[in-house]
Amino acid sequence: MDRVTLIYKVLAGDANLPEQRTLARWLHESEENRREYENIRLLWRSTMLVEDRHPQEGAFDAIRHRVRKDQRRRRRMRAIISVLLAMIFGLLLVFLFQTWFVN
């Protein structure tokens, strides 16, 4: 069973004894496991407290817009860097041509 599913099951009080023992063993293994459990418990509790659990259309659109804006910015930066590199390379070629063939 997926670990988060197991935690949710225990928190909801739907887990049987072997499942509860599995989670307890996992919690005893490390501090990081306990931290993960705390975070998932917080998420579960917050989900329970939310009145409107319907998918948030506007929120996803805003996220997509941000990601696309960032992608456009990165593409523009890459294009600028490419042009600059091409110019440097061109100037270097001209310089080498003048040094070797003209002189």
Binding site: D2, R3, V4, T5, Y8, K9, E32, R35, E36, N39, I40, L42, L43, S46, T47, L49, V50, D52, R53, P55, Q56, A59, F60, A62, I63, R64, R66, V67, D70
Partner: protein, 200 residues
Amino acid sequence: MDVRVIRDNLQSMSGPLNNHELRKLLLSLPGKAVRILCDQYYPALLKIAFSLTHDHEAAKDIVQETFCHIWKNARRLGAEQERSIQHYLVRVVRNRSISYYHEVNAQSREKARIAGTLQRHERSPESGYLQLEYAQEIRDMIARFPQRERECLTLKLDEELSNPEISARLGVGIKAVERSLTSARKRLRNELEARSKKKT
């Protein structure tokens, strides 16, 4: 494939999303994976962020930035990892909210410090005079000023008259009023400074 169908496949009953499948989806269709995560956890994460920042706009910004981060790093997060995506989401939202809280606190402390400094620097003799609500001590100071300065300053502060009005009331030129006020202010400032030095 429709997002709803994928989500139903990833979800066991009305429980959380299956991490193994979610990671595979992050690798193949990051946009759809983020949409499913957003549908499932956006309101809860918003609640967590708001409980730490106490600011709706900041909480919204933090949660949206977190999902953007997931989308941009889908390839890395899609690789099999020991920790769950839900844990990662909460951790990022918590850390960013706490950072925001500390940042706002630091900014307000800085603003208060600057405001305090400005207030100290901008305090003119008149405002000092008003702040002490015509304390007898200051009245006594002004009473010892030369007559013209004393009259000009009292009319300026007590009756809030303009320079031409003081000039008309006392029957002297505006220039003379300005000179008297400048001199009176300087005298008052010196007296107040001497008084505060004496107190410290």
